[in-house]
């Protein structure tokens, strides 16, 4: 059972799935870092992306590129709305984190309900056929699709890294992530940075949705029940503020899940993810490698500074 070809195939399967999970994790971690928000509304972005592609291709029969462009526009627009009319409003009201949690969760629930209302609870894939040419590399079956997914993810990660490290755009976001008040004093438009990070996250989520949906069919509740939790665990393991580490953690988690099939029946595999949350919370509440810079952020700051937070 534990032969090399099987292990290698599992490795590849894990890697292939990891592309989408990596994108979700990085998107989540980015918003957590820059906007300082646990974006539990990310499933809503996924649903917007996924079902707009579905509507474009399976519904209206539009060409691939049109569908992609449309979906990107819809998702980015939704992300901008979430930030501008959601997070910004509550931030200005100095709402407690309780409010953000409720808001994001309810937005996700709304998205799931809307999807179930219009599309039903059946599983749907983005393309009628999920087959793609398979090549045999040694003993491992590698589909072109998986290669495309991995390559795209790698390119997106590289692009994001270059963006964050070398462009003014990216560096401003990092500055806002570190200290929004100070960034504002230096003339950085903080609201615009918040918008940008949400829009970037939307792009990543949309790409992830594409790779998931062109491989398998999903139900509307999957993004909330499955993908979100993966993304959060990855962000927790990596540590708050470490965006690319979250991507790496997601890949590791995906491999872990792939290999778990060796010891766990498939219908219990999802339990691993749920158990993993508890393990993470208990063992790494601040992330795996204790980032000293982030420990400074743990230093308790007074909750009510000058004005009193509103509900």
């Amino acid at each position: 059972m534990l032969s090399a070809p099987i292990l290698l195939q599992l490795l590849w399967t894990g890697l292939a799935m990891s592309s989408a999970y990596c994108l979700f994790a990085v998107a989540f971690a980015l918003v957590l870092k820059v906007n300082q928000v646990w974006n539990f509304a990310q499933p809503a972005l996924f649903i917007a992306a996924y079902y707009s592609m579905y509507a474009a291709w399976q519904g209206a029969g539009l060409p691939t590129w049109v569908g992609l462009a449309l979906s990107l526009a819809v998702t980015v627009f939704l992300a901008a709305l979430l930030e501008w009319y959601g997070f910004r409003v509550f931030r200005n009201r100095r709402s407690a984190s309780l409010t953000f949690f409720i808001f994001t969760m309810v937005v996700s629930q709304l998205a799931v309900s809307l999807a179930e209302l219009f599309v039903g609870t059946d599983a749907r894939a983005l393309q009628s056929s999920v087959m793609s040419p398979i090549h045999l590399v040694g003993v491992v079956a590698i589909s072109e699709w998986d290669l495309l997914a991995l390559a795209t993810t790698a390119v997106l990660m590289l692009a994001l890294w270059l963006l964050m490290s070398f462009t003014r755009f990216g560096k401003q976001m990092t500055a806002v992530a570190d200290n929004p008040e100070l960034a504002a004093l230096y003339g950085i438009n903080v609201s615009r940075c918040y918008l940008h990070s949400m829009m970037l996250a939307a792009l990543l989520v949309m790409a992830g949705a594409y790779f998931i949906g062109t491989k398998a069919a999903i139900v509307p509740s999957s993004p909330l029940n499955q993908f979100l939790i993966f993304a959060v665990i990855a962000a927790l393991i990596a540590g708050i503020g470490r965006v690319f580490a979250a991507g790496v953690a997601a890949v590791a988690l995906s491999l872990f899940q792939a290999f778990s099939i060796l010891v766990i029946p498939s219908r219990w595999q999802i339990m691993l993810v749920y158990i993993l949350i508890f393990v993470c919370i208990l063992l790494f509440p601040q992330g795996v490698r204790r980032n000293p810079r982030r420990l400074a952020a743990v230093e308790p700051a007074p909750v009510s500074q000058t004005s009193v937070p509103q509900p």
């Binding site: 309900s113 339990m271 949350i277 919370i281 009510s304 937070p309 509900p311």
Partner: protein, 307 residues
Amino acid sequence: MIEYLSVLAAMALINVVLAVSFNLVLGYGGLVSIAHPIFFALGAYASGLLARDLGMPVPLAILAGGAIAMISSFALSVPALRVSGDYMVITSLGFQLALVHIITNVEFTGAAGGLTGIPSAFEGPIRGQLGLFAIAVFAIACVAIVRWLMHGPYGRAVTAMRNDEQALESLGRSPMAIKVMLFAMACGMAGVVGGFYAHHFLYLTPEQFGTFASTALLTMVVVGGAATTWGPVLGAILITLLPEAIRFLDMPISVMAPAQGVMFSVLVLIFMYLRPQGLLGGARAGGGVSSWYGSRAERRVNGGVKP
């Protein structure tokens, strides 16, 4: 018609207990727990199984169900609250989904088909009315207990905790201990009413306890008014009746459920934007928390009428 109203009343009263107990968690404890319906489920399934398979008398089974729910709550609250309340959301989501998954995939709970053959609490021709009466008594007791508790010194401590946890800690109280015990009490209440539910409706399926139920509870508390005595009661009654109001539109069940989900989510969002304190929440707010209505100051200012 009587039958229909009786069922509706029973559901409304059960929702009252659920909303009041969820308010303890969310409104007083300040914790966003998605998992509240699962403690309802734990109490219901435990009570049903104990009575059906082990022959335990129904009242005892109901109490045992409540105890099991209460003890299970520590498995969630202690890890999740160890560092900060921020992790409660995702941990409770995981807890909820995990337990629903287990219930759905394990034989002895009846799996996805549900648990049947649960012994009824009462026998005889008026068993429905007796059951309703028992639930009503329990609901009133819950509201009364919460009100009494929150008017007294405990309410003072909980309000202070909601205002500023660290300041409370610097005075010698442990906010984590308060939250864990509040959470345990709330889950115990939900577990007991779960037992009532099981022995009244005699049938349980795992899908009743999923994230849709969490949204419904959230709506009840947010719309009614968090951290008030009567807010969740009003919210529970409204949210129980609201879907009935659109039932007459005769939509298929596959549309009804998500339509309700949409309705509840939209309601919560509207209230969060326009009236965060809910219908019955106090107009005066300090730190996002209404003033403590147990204090003499509140009586002086608001003329003695308590929300």
